[in-house]
Symmetry: C2
Subunit: 421 residues, 2 copies
């Protein structure tokens, strides 16, 4: 059955469309932090950040169903949905981040952010880190070292070394913030010298795709100073850390004490319904809106707004931002009890936890792969990341509770225990 | 109430986000080909192609509701939804168009199509018409003369004169097909000479944004010959004409007797749920998939596939492709009875009808604006297009029936009758 579906899948989707796992999981149902496959096996979901308030949350499902049965149209007609949601959303940000464009995907959001930087500065040079992913459009894929663009990188793009826990930029953890800022300054100078000019810096405030390095709260201050001094637009990609994921604060940039000019949102925003957004300072929004007649057919439609608003409801009502902080902390404490010689670093920000595996000072990709497969075969979904795919990634839906951390820790401990290296 | 909402809308969305109409329509409910505003006024919808099988079609709403309550996740897990839908969808195409990528918007689809052309040819030069719109990403906005990109057009883009009913390319309707092909050849030569090379031609097979010009069925044959002889990828943007809109055939390119290499789909695909796709020949898909590790978080998720499959169900069960042909023909016949000196051309393809207005040989934009506003004030939604916004555009949901054509014609006849020029 699985083999037959895999063959049909490959026939109709083409090559290089991988599934996770040696033995792919064929999911058929989800609820809360749990998912079930077609044989009735149950999985604790420690991977999926898209079903942010839990798989198939009834409040979100009801909102989608009700609005889909009432009206679904575009934003050239007046509708209360996008206005009310926009107001609620921007109220979660620093005061000057008060305007929004709604779109369908984080990639569309970042694609707009790049043009906001261009519109504000009249320049095109853009900087991101060298171990990241920000989306899949032609323009945004220029920023992604993970999925290099077709035809290679354009001349107006620079990648600076990503912050790292075990191999900090500049060689020392204490000096990493200054060293990182210096690398950005170097890239800015280089872009200016090459005639592209510097339009902006686009980054994830938890550096999630970079492997979630442990960083002090003031890490980005020197970088922010350098970027703003050069007149660049600071773009915080909150597709992963946003909506409370990083615990205690709604946005990763708030934890860092930053004032970005543009913030992009995506995956968790409507619990899986295709919704994303760009939040910006009004002068940035005006520069973009006046330079380009942007319209997005599906963006901000009443159903998308209902789904996003219902997701906000649940985050607020169930105190999920605080839950991420508390349960994330508990999760880290439990995981710290696991002992294995290859665990080089355990770190987390809210409900996003990373375990970096090394052996003899080298990335232990084999062990990371073993743990992920073991977990899959023992009822838990998780992933891995890092330049060498040696960092275990745990990023469950936000209603994760204490008992779930216990269950997950138990499976992980077993996975490490049975490893026969 | 409307004024207050407009003010709040502008405050949170920023400038240059227009609504339709002098007095914006504040829609609250839709059903079939009808929509209602918040004062209870009812509108015959002759504008919206996104609610393809009718506003809030219960079969589509039920499919969305049921799947949203069951499972919504990404395509790195196995799921029958994307495979079964992909098979059903590609079965509607010429045999060699047998693979699909599912995404969230027509813009994302066209952004991929551009890269498919690059991956196939190793070149970057791209051609579209000079009176068109294909989407809003940074890369795709290069093709759109309607919404020029920030910073101006890139060097690898060429725009050829769009086909036109009243002012044909080359000066004569009979020679327009050859003249259009010659313009494309000129652009190809120019791209090759400039060192960009020619990767492909992206066009809408009904030239919908170009004003839906009347064209013979063999119009694109000379152009296709030129494009294929130069090794270019032929990309048919079916976001507007697809799924039977143009009547009698599922796709605009089938009516033209063309064999595109890539087809992009969007707006009507899931009746308003944010779903779009790229269908391609397997060698084109392989070239793209092997050149770039494309993954779209929301693309092809089980809810999107359920919505798209349910939309296909209704199109098939209610014979909407044939309905578009028959009712579209009837609509044209009725509209031909309206007499006004400014009606320079009445033309249509299925349920997409255009009335081009001129006065003394000049575009009559004033009259077009009057008719659209009059219709809005008398219970009908419609739009206008064209270089000078002088072409009335009627593009209702597909379950449009004979009585609806009568109703629409009546309102239009009144609008022309009361015009006091």
């Amino acid at each position: 059955m699985t083999n037959e579906l895999m063959a049909r899948r490959q026939a109709v989707l083409g090559p290089n469309v991988p599934t996770f796992y040696d033995n792919p999981v064929h999911l058929v149902r989800g609820s809360g932090v749990w998912a079930w496959d077609m044989d009735g096996n149950k999985y604790l979901d420690c991977y999926n950040n898209v079903p942010h308030v839990g798989h198939c949350h009834p409040h979100v499902v009801a909102a989608i169903s009700e609005q889909a049965a009432t009206l679904n149209t575009h934003t050239r007609y007046l509708h209360d949905g996008i206005v009310s949601y926009g107001e609620r959303l921007t109220a979660k940000f620093q005061m000057e981040l008060d305007q929004v464009i709604m779109v369908c995907s984080g990639s569309e959001a970042n694609d707009i952010a790049l043009r906001m930087a261009q519109a504000m500065t009249g320049k095109v040079g853009i900087i991101s880190t060298d171990n990241t992913y920000h989306g899949n459009t032609m323009a945004v894929s220029q920023l992604s070292s993970r999925k290099p663009p077709i035809g290679g990188y354009a001349a107006h793009v620079r990648h600076v070394p990503a912050p790292d826990t075990l191999r900090p930029v500049g060689g020392s953890f204490a000096n990493q913030a200054e060293a990182f800022a210096k690398e950005i300054q170097k890239a800015i100078d280089d872009l200016e010298a090459a005639g592209h000019g510097f339009s902006g810096f686009l980054f994830c405030p938890t550096f999630a795709n970079e492997g979630l390095p442990d960083l002090p709260q003031n890490f980005m201050r020197p970088a922010e100073r350098v970027i703003k001094a050069a007149g660049g637009v600071l773009i915080s990609d909150e597709v992963q850390p946003g909506f409370g994921r990083s615990g205690g604060t709604w946005w990763g940039h708030d934890w860092l004490g930053l004032s970005p000019d543009v913030v992009t949102l995506g995956k968790p925003m409507a619990n899986g319904h295709p919704v994303a957004a760009v939040v910006a300072r009004s002068e940035v929004m005006s520069a973009f809106r006046n330079a380009f007649g942007y319209f997005n057919t599906f963006g901000g439609n009443p159903v998308s707004c209902a789904a996003a608003a219902a997701t906000l409801d649940v985050i607020e009502q169930d105190n999920l931002v605080e839950n991420a902080r508390i349960i994330g902390g508990e999760f880290l404490e439990r995981l710290a009890q696991i002992s294995h010689s290859s665990i080089a670093s355990l770190r987390g920000r809210g409900l996003f936890v990373a375990l970096e595996l090394e052996k003899d000072g080298e990335a232990d990709e084999r062990l990371a792969a073993h743990v992920v497969e073991y977990a899959r075969n023992h009822g838990m979904l998780m992933g891995r990341t890092g330049r060498n795919r040696n960092i275990l990634k745990l990023r469950p839906p936000m209603p994760f509770c204490s008992a779930d951390t216990e269950c997950a820790t138990h499976i992980l401990a077993d996975a490490f225990a049975v490893d026969v290296t």
